[in-house]
Assembly symmetry: C2
Homo-oligomer: 283 residues x 2
């Protein structure tokens, strides 16, 4: 029976810190505000948006929504984005990506005011991870994984951390975040030979491959801490599952984040804390 | 007896490709040009500068030097840097860093026109490594290590690559360059527990710790390829040495780069190729 690293109490602690900062800002007459940009009505976007709005309300962050039809003119979209970039009463900007294909994703990422890039997608934010400077923000899910380790007092310095997955939103940024905290980092991916063997040597295993229930007992050891970043829909079982075959792995390791209720439940709180931090940095 | 991965023939091949591009550009009436910024007369700067000038001359790249006294006014330095940034006849800019302490290194890095940042030090260049886009350039020494592997036909895809060192100029950027080529990457550093054990499992071992002759037989295996990025002065032996204890390690591994005559002898050619590439991109 392993320790369950639940996300809720991590999120609560982050929210508590955010609320304290919001109260300090409000005393100065400042209310942190998030602008949400959404094109179309994708269910995943709407679901995240509902969560973000709820969290913002709890914390005391204002939300301004910019919602566009699927066939919005590119120019009209960017007009509004520029408005938000330049609006001193907006402190964070979240754009639901990917936008429709006619939008250039690289141009979009870098058209968001980097000081307001609370989702950590701009080149400046990514460079900040590299240089270990507080330029921009880390992508929220990568940051959420770190927050969970921190909250549960899991030391990463000198530990062998294996990350499965090398995406721009999790694998790569998380490798830099943990390297900056003195972990020894190994990044595995589709082309890696014998990932289970490598993973089974890890003190901390981060699963961010996006492969439902890929990580089974062969990836584990009894002292291991597993952070499961995967959020996948299991068609057969008709439920959300992670990258870890939970029922098999959970009894064999020291600690593990559940899915749902793990990393995913911390991400929104991280994003809102970035809005608050962006606001604080500006004043 | 291992294969010696000498830098000279790699540099020659890079120069040959650069010369071909320079000739194409010259047919259009364009001469690639590098601006070198140096403050003071540090021997290491002067030595690199001499090498760069020689290489530029061979390849057909013009060099414009901006040399300042150690006590130059910050404003005067930046005036000239801005000139070079905006001068359409300058395609690459190399600033010898670190500058005297009163210069802010982060400001400096990001004051170089990113399209001319042939040494890959600006945030935009670092972000390009992250996103695997040709934004800016990779730091020259990191790129040189990759060029050596490529030249000698050493496949990195699916291989276990261990990098010792996590600096912004080698360890971190090289990890991204090799990850983008599908290597499985492990980054070790001062806080890593049992680096020799981890290194001894590597197919390819990159030594970039800056610790003279630290890597001994305990770090190796008979199938291993070693890239020694270290350039250190051995006081006792009164000669340049790498991070590898060469005489002990060389007979035990499959292939190794010598020091001197390895990675270091490729770096300048990479830098000059970046000037040529920057020029080509602009036209």
């Amino acid at each position: 029976m392993s320790e369950l690293l639940k996300g809720k109490e991590v999120a609560d602690a982050i929210n508590k810190r955010s609320i304290e900062t919001v109260n300090e800002l409000k005393e100065k007459g400042i209310t942190p505000a998030l602008a949400i940009f959404r094109v179309g009505n994708k269910e995943s976007d709407l679901s995240y948006e509902r969560g973000a709005e709820k969290r913002c309300e709890e914390v005391g962050v204002k939300v301004v929504k910019y919602v566009f039809d699927e066939d919005v003119e590119i120019e009209d979209f960017y007009d509004k984005l520029l408005d938000a970039n330049n609006d001193p009463t907006i402190h964070g900007i979240l754009v639901f990506r990917p936008l429709p294909k006619r939008f250039d994703d690289e141009l979009l990422r870098n058209s968001i005011n980097p000081y307001k890039d609370v989702d950590g997608c701009s080149d400046l934010s990514l460079a900040g991870l590299f240089t270990n400077k507080k330029t921009g923000f880390a992508p929220c899910t990568a940051q959420a994984a770190v927050e969970i380790l921190d909250h549960y007092g899991i030391e990463v310095s000198g530990k062998n951390v294996v990350i499965i997955g090398r995406s721009l939103v999790i694998g790569k940024p998380l490798s830099m975040l943990l390297l900056n905290r003195n972990a020894t980092i190994t990044i595995c991916h589709r082309k890696t030979v014998d990932t289970p063997l490598i993973a089974s040597k890890a003190d901390i295993l981060v699963c961010a491959a996006g492969e439902p229930e890929m990580v089974n007992k062969n990836y584990t050891n009894p002292h291991q801490i597993i952070v499961d970043v995967g959020i996948n829909w299991n068609v057969e079982k008709q439920k959300i599952c992670g990258d870890v075959l939970f029922d098999e792995v959970e009894p064999l390791v020291k600690a593990i984040t559940p899915v749902p209720g793990g990393v995913g439940s911390v991400t929104t709180s991280v994003m809102v804390s970035h809005v608050v931090e962006a606001c604080k940095r500006g004043y």
